[in-house]
């Protein structure tokens, strides 16, 4: 096996491992022990690589996205079509704990929140949001990997938007429906410097 392919497989499996570790409790909740799942995925990847007619796998920045939707279903949030809102730099995480990863994104520039935002990690979210690039233009926040966000997290997002100089906006991508409702209920939705991008990247709701 070529070294490059081996490296690719290892990287792929590592990301899956990381995801399964972070979400072990969720899987267990619905009766899925993660160890057999891990072995199954490893076997499947190996079988796939050995298949001669298979083309080389396409490199992607965010493999865990493929798993974001089923997990969202577990916690009872509406499933949405998997869309890549931003290009995530997984290898340069800003913050990581057992339930949340904050990763920088390029194209458009900003950050992605993946997992749960709650009281224990809201300070990290606040720090990441205040440390956003200070250059001109809009700042983008990819929430398509968000599984849960409490009001403290929502407040951190709103305050970050308000802290931007006039004319710049914080653009939210892939906002879970639940979060959008919470924004409306607490009267935070109509803020001049906070904008919610619609289902297609680049198109924004009026």
């Amino acid at each position: 096996m070529e070294a490059e392919t081996q490296e690719l497989i290892d990287g792929f499996l590592q990301v899956i491992d990381r995801f399964l570790n972070a979400n072990q409790a969720r899987f267990l909740d619905v009766g899925l022990p993660t160890q057999p799942l891990r072995l199954l995925i490893r076997e499947w990847v190996m079988a796939w690589v050995r298949t001669p007619e298979m083309a080389a796998p396409r490199m992607t920045d965010a493999p865990p996205d493929a798993f974001a939707n089923p997990v969202r279903a577990f916690v009872g949030l509406p499933t949405e079509p998997a869309t890549e809102w931003t290009r995530r730099l997984w290898d340069r995480p800003i913050y990581s704990d057992t339930m949340l990863q904050i990763v920088p994104t390029v194209d458009p520039p900003g950050i992605a929140l993946v997992g749960d935002v709650e009281a224990s990690n809201v300070q990290a979210v606040l720090r990441a949001l205040t440390g956003l690039p200070s250059s001109s233009g809009d700042v983008h926040l990819d929430l398509s990997g968000l599984l849960f966000c409490d009001l403290g997290g929502l407040q951190a997002i709103v305050r970050a938007a308000q802290a931007l100089e006039p004319g710049r906006r914080l653009v939210l991508h892939g906002v879970p429906r639940q979060l959008e409702r919470a924004l409306e209920i607490v009267d935070w939705a109509p803020l001049p410097n906070l904008s919610i991008a619609s289902s297609a990247p680049g198109v924004e709701r009026p």
Binding site: D29, G76, P78, Q155, I185
Partner: protein, 319 residues
């Protein structure tokens, strides 16, 4: 006409109107509505759909100048009624006109828990609009359909009572301060618990998972699960941030209702905290407001030894 006849004073006038049956209801509320229209006073009527239809017929062509809202939508959770009145009062602020309202939050279809919270709501109204510019709120009570003890409680929660023959001060009304005194009457204990979990700041995710699992196994729709998880997480977060850093979650079923209870050692100062619309610039303090908007009923009991918050969610939510 007796010596205790109440004249139209200024300020907030919170009046219970006793009636027996729909015909008396219409006969006793219609003059109040037409009186408002004649005096060009804005009026909002929040009653059942059936009563709205009857009042539209009775008032006739001028009914379009009356705002009507369905109490089963506005006040399904009685804690949402005061914000609705606030919106009405604010919309007419500074106009210099007296405002009128009719609100019937207490009706026979209320469950025992809903009734208790509706009575609490009636008491809190006295503080919520104390000192407001002229607002005359009439609360009809159907003596034919309600238990006599419920009608007696109306005398405790309303300073003014009307019965179709006259209007008088209630002898049982304890005043504004006593109306909002801490509500520490104990809640009934559940017969069978589904789950109990002691939590602290590190175990909020366990709170969410347990609520999610119980709601799912009770057959809730995904949106209701997500709503309940969000509300329970906020209440539990209050416990770890303001309620002694820890709390206890208990979950049980009561017919088609799932109840999530959070207890902690904290204490609530402001009895109207959960029904004041949060200002956009305010930091924190939105958890209970959100819980009231998301849940079918929220029960709060607070005294010096601790606070209990119960979130009720119906399995079959059409509202």
């Amino acid at each position: 006409m007796t010596a205790t006849m109440v004249t139209n004073e200024r300020g907030f006038r919170h009046e219970a109107l006793l009636y027996a049956g729909i015909d008396q209801f219409v006969a006793r509320t219609t003059p109040f509505i037409t009186g408002a229209l004649e005096a060009d006073e804005p009026i909002l009527v929040v009653v059942s759909r059936q009563k709205i239809a009857a009042l539209r017929t009775a008032v006739g062509k001028d009914a379009d100048r009356v705002q009507f809202r369905d109490m089963s939508e506005v006040g399904a959770n009685p804690a949402r009624i005061i914000p609705a009145w606030h919106t009405f009062v604010e919309a007419h602020a500074g106009e210099g006109r007296r405002l009128r309202g009719i609100g019937e939050p207490i009706y026979p279809e209320r469950t025992a828990s809903e009734l208790v919270e509706s009575q609490r709501h009636e008491a809190l109204l006295n503080a919520a609009f104390d000192g407001e510019p002229d607002f005359w709120l009439l609360c009809p009570y159907n003596t034919q359909a309600l238990d006599p003890s419920v009608v007696e409680t109306a005398h405790r929660t309303h300073p003014v009572i009307a019965d179709g023959h006259g209007t008088s001060w209630s002898d049982l009304y304890p005043g504004v301060a006593a109306s909002v005194a801490p509500y520490d009457k104990p809640l009934p204990e559940p017969s069978a618990l589904r789950a109990t979990l002691a939590f602290d700041a590190k175990r909020l995710s366990a709170v969410r998972r347990l609520v999610s699992r119980e709601a799912a196994s009770a057959g809730f729709m995904t949106r209701s699960i997500a709503d309940l998880v969000l509300a329970a997480n906020e209440v539990a977060t209050n416990s770890v941030q303001h309620g002694g850093a820890a709390g206890t979650l208990r979950i049980w079923r009561d017919g088609g209702v799932l109840v999530c209870e959070v207890r902690d050692r904290g204490h609530f100062e402001d009895p109207l905290a959960d029904r004041r619309r949060p200002a956009p610039g305010q930091d924190g303090g939105r958890g209970l407001w959100l819980a009231n908007q998301l849940c079918d009923l929220v029960q709060i009991r607070s005294c010096s030894s601790g606070t209990t918050v119960r979130l009720h969610m119906h399995r079959d939510r059409s509202r």
